[in-house]
Symmetry: D2
Subunit: 257 residues, 4 copies
């Protein structure tokens, strides 16, 4: 059977990345409390393609994924990406796993537990060197300092999300990145709050008024102080309750020292 993909290409155009995306696949990731967590990933896998090949072999991407039986841990990401690179005989391979991740949270006063959902992205690239970025997307509440200052009573507040992307020098748990972000909003979110808890988080947010700029800078300060992180990018997006559009702020920094 003819292998059309392997035929010689004469257009002299190397391809930066070719592969598959939006593949939904069950995976198992590490969980600090429970040891492991079953979840569902949106998977993207791609390689570079030299100018003389007409096409890549798409089925091998899934074969690589199958070999690892869905075990996706930060420490294995280099191994998986290198294996993809070798299987496809490519100079460069790139893999992204994006998945929901659940952490057990306790309401602030009643201590009743429930699950909070976060979104996590593992992105890795392997050529002569290896690069790995871990991103957590954490929903929080923001309460506007200007609205509080100028109003007789009340202050507009809303759901916002903090996206923290980090390159690590040493292992950091997903849970630790989530905790950093949750400390930096006006208040964290919970799935289950009884009345005493609702009073607590309402007052917590009011006393802790923050612009998206404040949330961004406070998150950055925490990440600057974290010696296991070598680079970070933070993005805060706030679904303003007085507008039908969002406010956002972002920055990217190499950690000094």
């Amino acid at each position: 059977m003819r292998d059309v993909q392997s035929e010689r290409d004469s257009r002299r155009i190397p391809i930066d990345l070719v592969g598959i995306k939006d593949l939904s696949y069950p995976i198992v990731v590490l969980d600090r409390e429970q040891k492991e967590q079953h979840t569902v990933a949106n998977v993207s896998m791609a390689v570079s393609l030299p100018e003389h090949y007409r096409g890549t072999h798409m089925s091998r991407f899934i074969e690589v994924l199958e070999e690892f039986q869905g075990k996706v841990t930060l420490s294995q990401m280099e191994h998986i990406t290198e294996h993809l690179r070798q299987t496809l005989r490519a100079d460069r391979a790139e893999i992204t796993f994006q998945f929901p991740y659940f952490i057990r949270r306790h309401a602030p006063v009643t201590k009743i537990p429930s699950y909070s959902r976060y979104d996590v992205i593992f992105w890795a690239q392997k050529d002569s060197s290896f690069d790995l970025i871990t991103t957590v997307i954490v929903p929080v509440q923001t309460l506007c300092p200007c609205s509080r200052e100028i109003s007789e009573f009340g202050a507009h507040n809303q759901r916002a999300r903090i996206e923290v992307a980090a390159r690590m020098k040493n292992f950091v748990w997903i849970e630790e990145l989530v905790e950093i972000a949750e400390r930096c909003g006006s208040a964290p979110l919970h799935s289950l709050l009884k009345r005493e808890d609702e009073k607590y988080v309402t007052e917590q947010a009011y006393q802790n008024a923050k612009f998206v700029e404040d949330v961004l800078r406070d998150t950055a300060l925490e990440l600057e102080a974290e010696s296991r992180i070598s680079w970070y990018r933070v993005r805060v997006v706030s679904s303003e309750s007085i507008h039908n559009h969002d406010a956002f702020a972002e920055l990217e920094r190499h950690v000094s020292g």
Copy 2:
């Protein structure tokens, strides 16, 4: 050229609806202030198919749309739907246009104008009789009465949306349905608010605390009092700022009298 669609089908299964959906098309609708408004619709068009035909003729749906040159008004909906029914020789035809609609709004204190976006749905069905439902989706702010009552200061608030669907006895402007909904949230949203305006809407929402249940009932009360409406369905969805999930409430009523 063989007409496969018109061939006889022996499976003895009539089809409720067959047609096209998610067609994006430019349309022109009536605007109370500007006379007309150019917008972009998501279009769905379908007909019933008797058991003895194998298929419908999909290209004719677009031909019907083209004949009306994108002029989509409530008063023309019966004509368009009937024309579709006849063109496809069907017992029943159904058309949906969903589109963004912009209204010029003035900030409450500074009176500076800006556009507010709403979403509108025209749904029509024609068989032996004609049925037409107009839906507007209006973003508002809701502020929680429980949170305000139990907290020393502040109250959680958030963006919400009110969906009003109505069958009319007499013509009602999109703008009128939008105004009904905007009156029934804790405060309306604006694209542009200066500090004086922000103070105003913050205090307005605080003094006007409402659960989704309250917004729903207040909207229903307004619709009950509107003699041009014969049936309505209201749905309120609030993106709770203390949770990562939404609260919602809905009801459907024939207007008495």
Copy 3:
């Protein structure tokens, strides 16, 4: 602490449904091969509210969910919905779980296994009686009979999805509903296909050309023949490869006998 929700409401408007939606929660469902499958559900829970109560108690919805520790099986749906109804002291309770579900599939020729993703919805309602609808959403390929008939070579084909909703008299596995739908497209989809497999499914689809109307009727015929099903609704949506819009067809039937 004042219970604002329980206060008397004088607007005389009973509410059809009030509750929470778009809550993301980890659940465990039954799996025919593996006994159980961990997945992530989008959850909606709601109750009716009599006219004299101002509001429902939203936190109790999550408490009910927590009590069942995420174990969501068809046979337990009545118990969960009834428990919600009683906890909220409502006349009627309604719950929806929507979740991705993975089934191990083998390529048609090489027999190499990989996961296929389906989407499943459990919807239940409890008042004086109990109602339960199970929906599976199954991606397939459709190949156009008209295009094949009139063209010298080739035929346009594309990804489509078949949505099968069913009320059951006796237990039917998710896997069985998926198999019915997969048999009724022009060809099933697979995550992993080697060249021999790709040849197989290409020819299978070509020999098995079907309009959305054909897929709909063939699925309906299979469901008519299934004695464990008392009612079904089928919807087929095909992302036409020659258009930038979709074709669709749908029907709903009580099973005779």
Copy 4:
């Protein structure tokens, strides 16, 4: 009234970008045939913020947008972005307009006209210099050369999209970028095709089989030959009809000469 945003910030963290996003606003753009086209944009506007300011002034973004009365042309993008930069007294300003754009297309044989929808993005940045990238997203059909080669009859084909981003040395119409992309798929899409047309495009695609890699390289070749373009990035995403995931390929190049 206190101006909280203008207060001094002592955290010593400059912010890369702060502003608004997901604002929906009506705009008017240039149309090669019709002179102008009314459409609806998703707008993002942001500026850099020095370390000593606590916050930016979000309402001024909308004021800038209002001043231009929604007239958004490529030649005015520098003026708008510079005006935003000056109004916010920022070192850098960035604006994105993303909008649907319709072009009248004629069916290949019957020549019947209908609208085709494309998506367009204008992105501009102004600091000491000015940068502008125009992106068009063009839906096409791709037909797999491997599937055609190895199968007795037929070949899998599907809807795909080509994203062309370009920096220009001299003005290029949106329509020209769209035409380049449409020439490079296996066949273009149309909203309205009669049987003769359907035969034509089915055979056109079959005779013009292309991997995503082929579409990518052919588009790149066309862009290389275009002297008005100084840089481009192309991305092709194909919704494979035999899989439930997509194939993609991408590359980015400065045009030599």
